[in-house]
Symmetry: C3
Subunit: 305 residues, 3 copies
């Protein structure tokens, strides 16, 4: 993993203006707005492309745990403050730091975060107005309800195409929602899925025209805010019992992800995608991830010959 880290910093470092691994403690911004006694809005921002950094995970985990202690909160809406992106993938320069993130009792913090979202005594609603990719998309799948902008939402899992295993819980959740074959297509191909096909497959609860999304979500939140908290919590818990992946299952997936960090196929692809980020530009590449994932792998193929 040491070598990988060096490689990752070497090739992705410059793209994100990181001079040295040891000195970096990248931070994202997560704000919590109190809409009413019962409703909170959690907004995420990490310009320019809303990558999840280790601090995102620990901050978000603390926010979920804090809100869980507030007996008045019934609904929490998650959205993004960065145009074009909902929660995006993990920061590619931070894998060693992600791998090191543990709770006090040694559980991977990411797994703990997903567990805490599942067990939180309020309804979580994702309002998706941009791309959500990789670990960000797996986080999205953990929210109770997911409403996507017809025009702006795009879903994509680049891990397999980069040579990684997507171990953030998505492989446990998605086949339960959309069936094994469609889930395999999503994860194996790394193609872009726009909101229309995401809704058709069942990756999101509903899509709405972008102009109507906010009012739809707010109306829904306001409605639920008047309902009995015990009733809301119990319906969530009971549906989780039937249909949510267990923490044990998600821990096994996360272990596969950690293992995949040392796959040779990843190390082969890191310099190629690193160079591609430099050449194409971060935003253009991210906004066409499905396409460039294919282009990068074509280069891998040619290199082998």
């Amino acid at each position: 993993m040491k070598n990988l880290q060096v490689l990752l910093v070497l090739f992705f470092g410059s793209v994100f203006n990181i001079n040295s691994y040891a000195q970096t403690t990248p931070k994202s911004t997560i704000s919590v707005e109190k809409v009413s006694a019962e409703i909170r809005k959690v907004k995420f921002a990490n310009p320019p492309i809303n990558v999840i950094v280790p601090e995102t995970i620990s901050s978000l985990n603390e926010i979920i745990k804090d809100l869980s202690k507030d007996s008045t909160v019934k609904v929490v809406i998650f959205s993004s403050d960065v145009k074009g992106y909902f929660f995006n993938h993990f920061d590619l320069t931070q894998f060693a730091n992600f791998a090191a993130q543990r709770t006090a009792d040694g559980k991977p913090m990411w797994v703990d975060l997903i567990t805490n979202i599942h067990s939180a005594p309020f309804i979580t609603i994702a309002s998706i107005k941009g791309r959500t990719q990789g670990g960000g998309d797996e986080l999205t799948m953990a929210f109770d309800l997911r409403y996507a902008s017809k025009e702006l939402a795009v879903f994509e899992q680049p891990e397999v195409g980069v040579g990684l295993f997507p171990g953030g819980g998505g492989t446990n959740m998605l086949p339960r929602l959309i069936g094994k074959d469609r889930a395999l297509e999503v994860f194996a191909t790394g193609n872009d899925y726009d909101a229309t096909i995401a809704e058709k497959y069942g990756m999101v609860t509903r899509t709405l025209p972008n102009a109507e999304l906010d009012s739809f979500v707010n109306k829904l939140a306001n409605r639920l805010a008047t309902f009995d908290k015990t009733a809301l919590l119990t319906i969530k818990q009971q549906l989780n019992l039937v249909a949510a992946p267990s923490e044990a299952e998600r821990l096994a997936s996360y272990a596969e992800f950690l293992k995949s960090l040392s796959w040779p196929g990843l190390q082969l692809r890191v310099p190629i995608f690193g160079a591609m980020y430099g050449k194409i530009g971060v935003e253009k590449l991210e906004q066409n991830m499905g396409f460039y994932l294919g282009e990068g792998n074509k280069q891998v193929q040619q290199q082998k010959k």
Copy 2:
């Protein structure tokens, strides 16, 4: 539960012309028509709004058990004789009686009914031409095949909005059919779902234009009636093994429902909805349940302030 019963009778009693709990033994009408040696039609009626009363459960259970003993029966079609409604929710004045309904060996009779429908040696078909709500909708989910009138069918689960847990088996079945997030939306919001979205989500097998529904169902029943009974029974049993919730799972849900009868949130809402029935009128309220469920909870919210 005693207090609740008093409250429920106090506020719903007048609406349904019930003078006192002890004196009431409300009855519905369930007829069994022999269409042919192999086909039966079970028609339910309890005007004006087709609520399920305790007698509905015991009668329906006896009918299912009787038909199960008839080796010639291959298909049983369930429909309603009351315009505007398929099986509607439980009679709100009868919760204490529902809770007391047990089989000879102490099993909740509702759970036994659903088990008997699942294990009945014939194919059950629901022909849905109106609203099905609450426990009625959960009963509907227990039928093998569900065909809904595009124009007339509406699906709604008011329990959470009233401050109850919907423990009739629907929380076990629906997430298996439509995924956890969409099932949560259905149960948590208590909104109306018309046939189009119900079909899109996968809550029903198919929708048909109302003018074609009867002939579609009859044609299907006639086809199956010519098939080998052992083959029909075995395919039903084997698919249940893979995809039907176990009785143990449904017993646990029912226990949650019984527990929910003493939730303070329910007792807070009973007088408000009781008054609302009186003011709006039963049929208008029932036909706009999703809307009035929200209105009632707005009043709960205002009352708290």
Copy 3:
């Protein structure tokens, strides 16, 4: 089973030009084309109607096992060389031979084949340009990704209508993909499902206009061929862990199928469908299987009266 075999040969024998059971060793043609180091195309042909014969199962199993040993293979595309059909149902004259097919350690070879497809270290893609029925449709469900021609693909399970149990694994897979009620409709009615409804139900991954299907599948295969094999294999394995039926479950289904070979309802239907093949013609009957399945059972019904 001896009597059944005699009956089957008696009535289906002439249709398929088989003079005597002992002398027949019907063969299909399965070719493996090396498209590139990473991609293979497996083409199946058994004119005129592409039935699966015992040799198909053993040959296909050997091919899967051989390709699984080739570390360069990442994608295998399955298609048909016979117009109008993808993999069709089992050869109706060969049931005794199918039942006798075992692996060295006594496992039913069909179950072993499906297990080997599930565990093969490459992505399997079905390119479906015709009818797939019965065991052929169950084989189709075992492939990782399934792309169907909008105009030409038709899915049908005749077993229940013939008086058999479809024990090839389909009853384990399909309810996981499309829900219990829709799976029951497919298996119990034996109706034809065109590509549009198959996609709507989720029986196939996607449908494509026939003119675009080949290029879609080839593009997908070429993309996956450039990805890391370990990553592709792991994502397939992990999704199977969550969502594929176990071999134990499929063995139990296969045992039900073997049992069903001695059901009286089958023996009643064999002469009727045998005569119908002779009268209607094999291809016309096969291309309208859903319809003629109903017609044959009407005759069964009339015979009883």
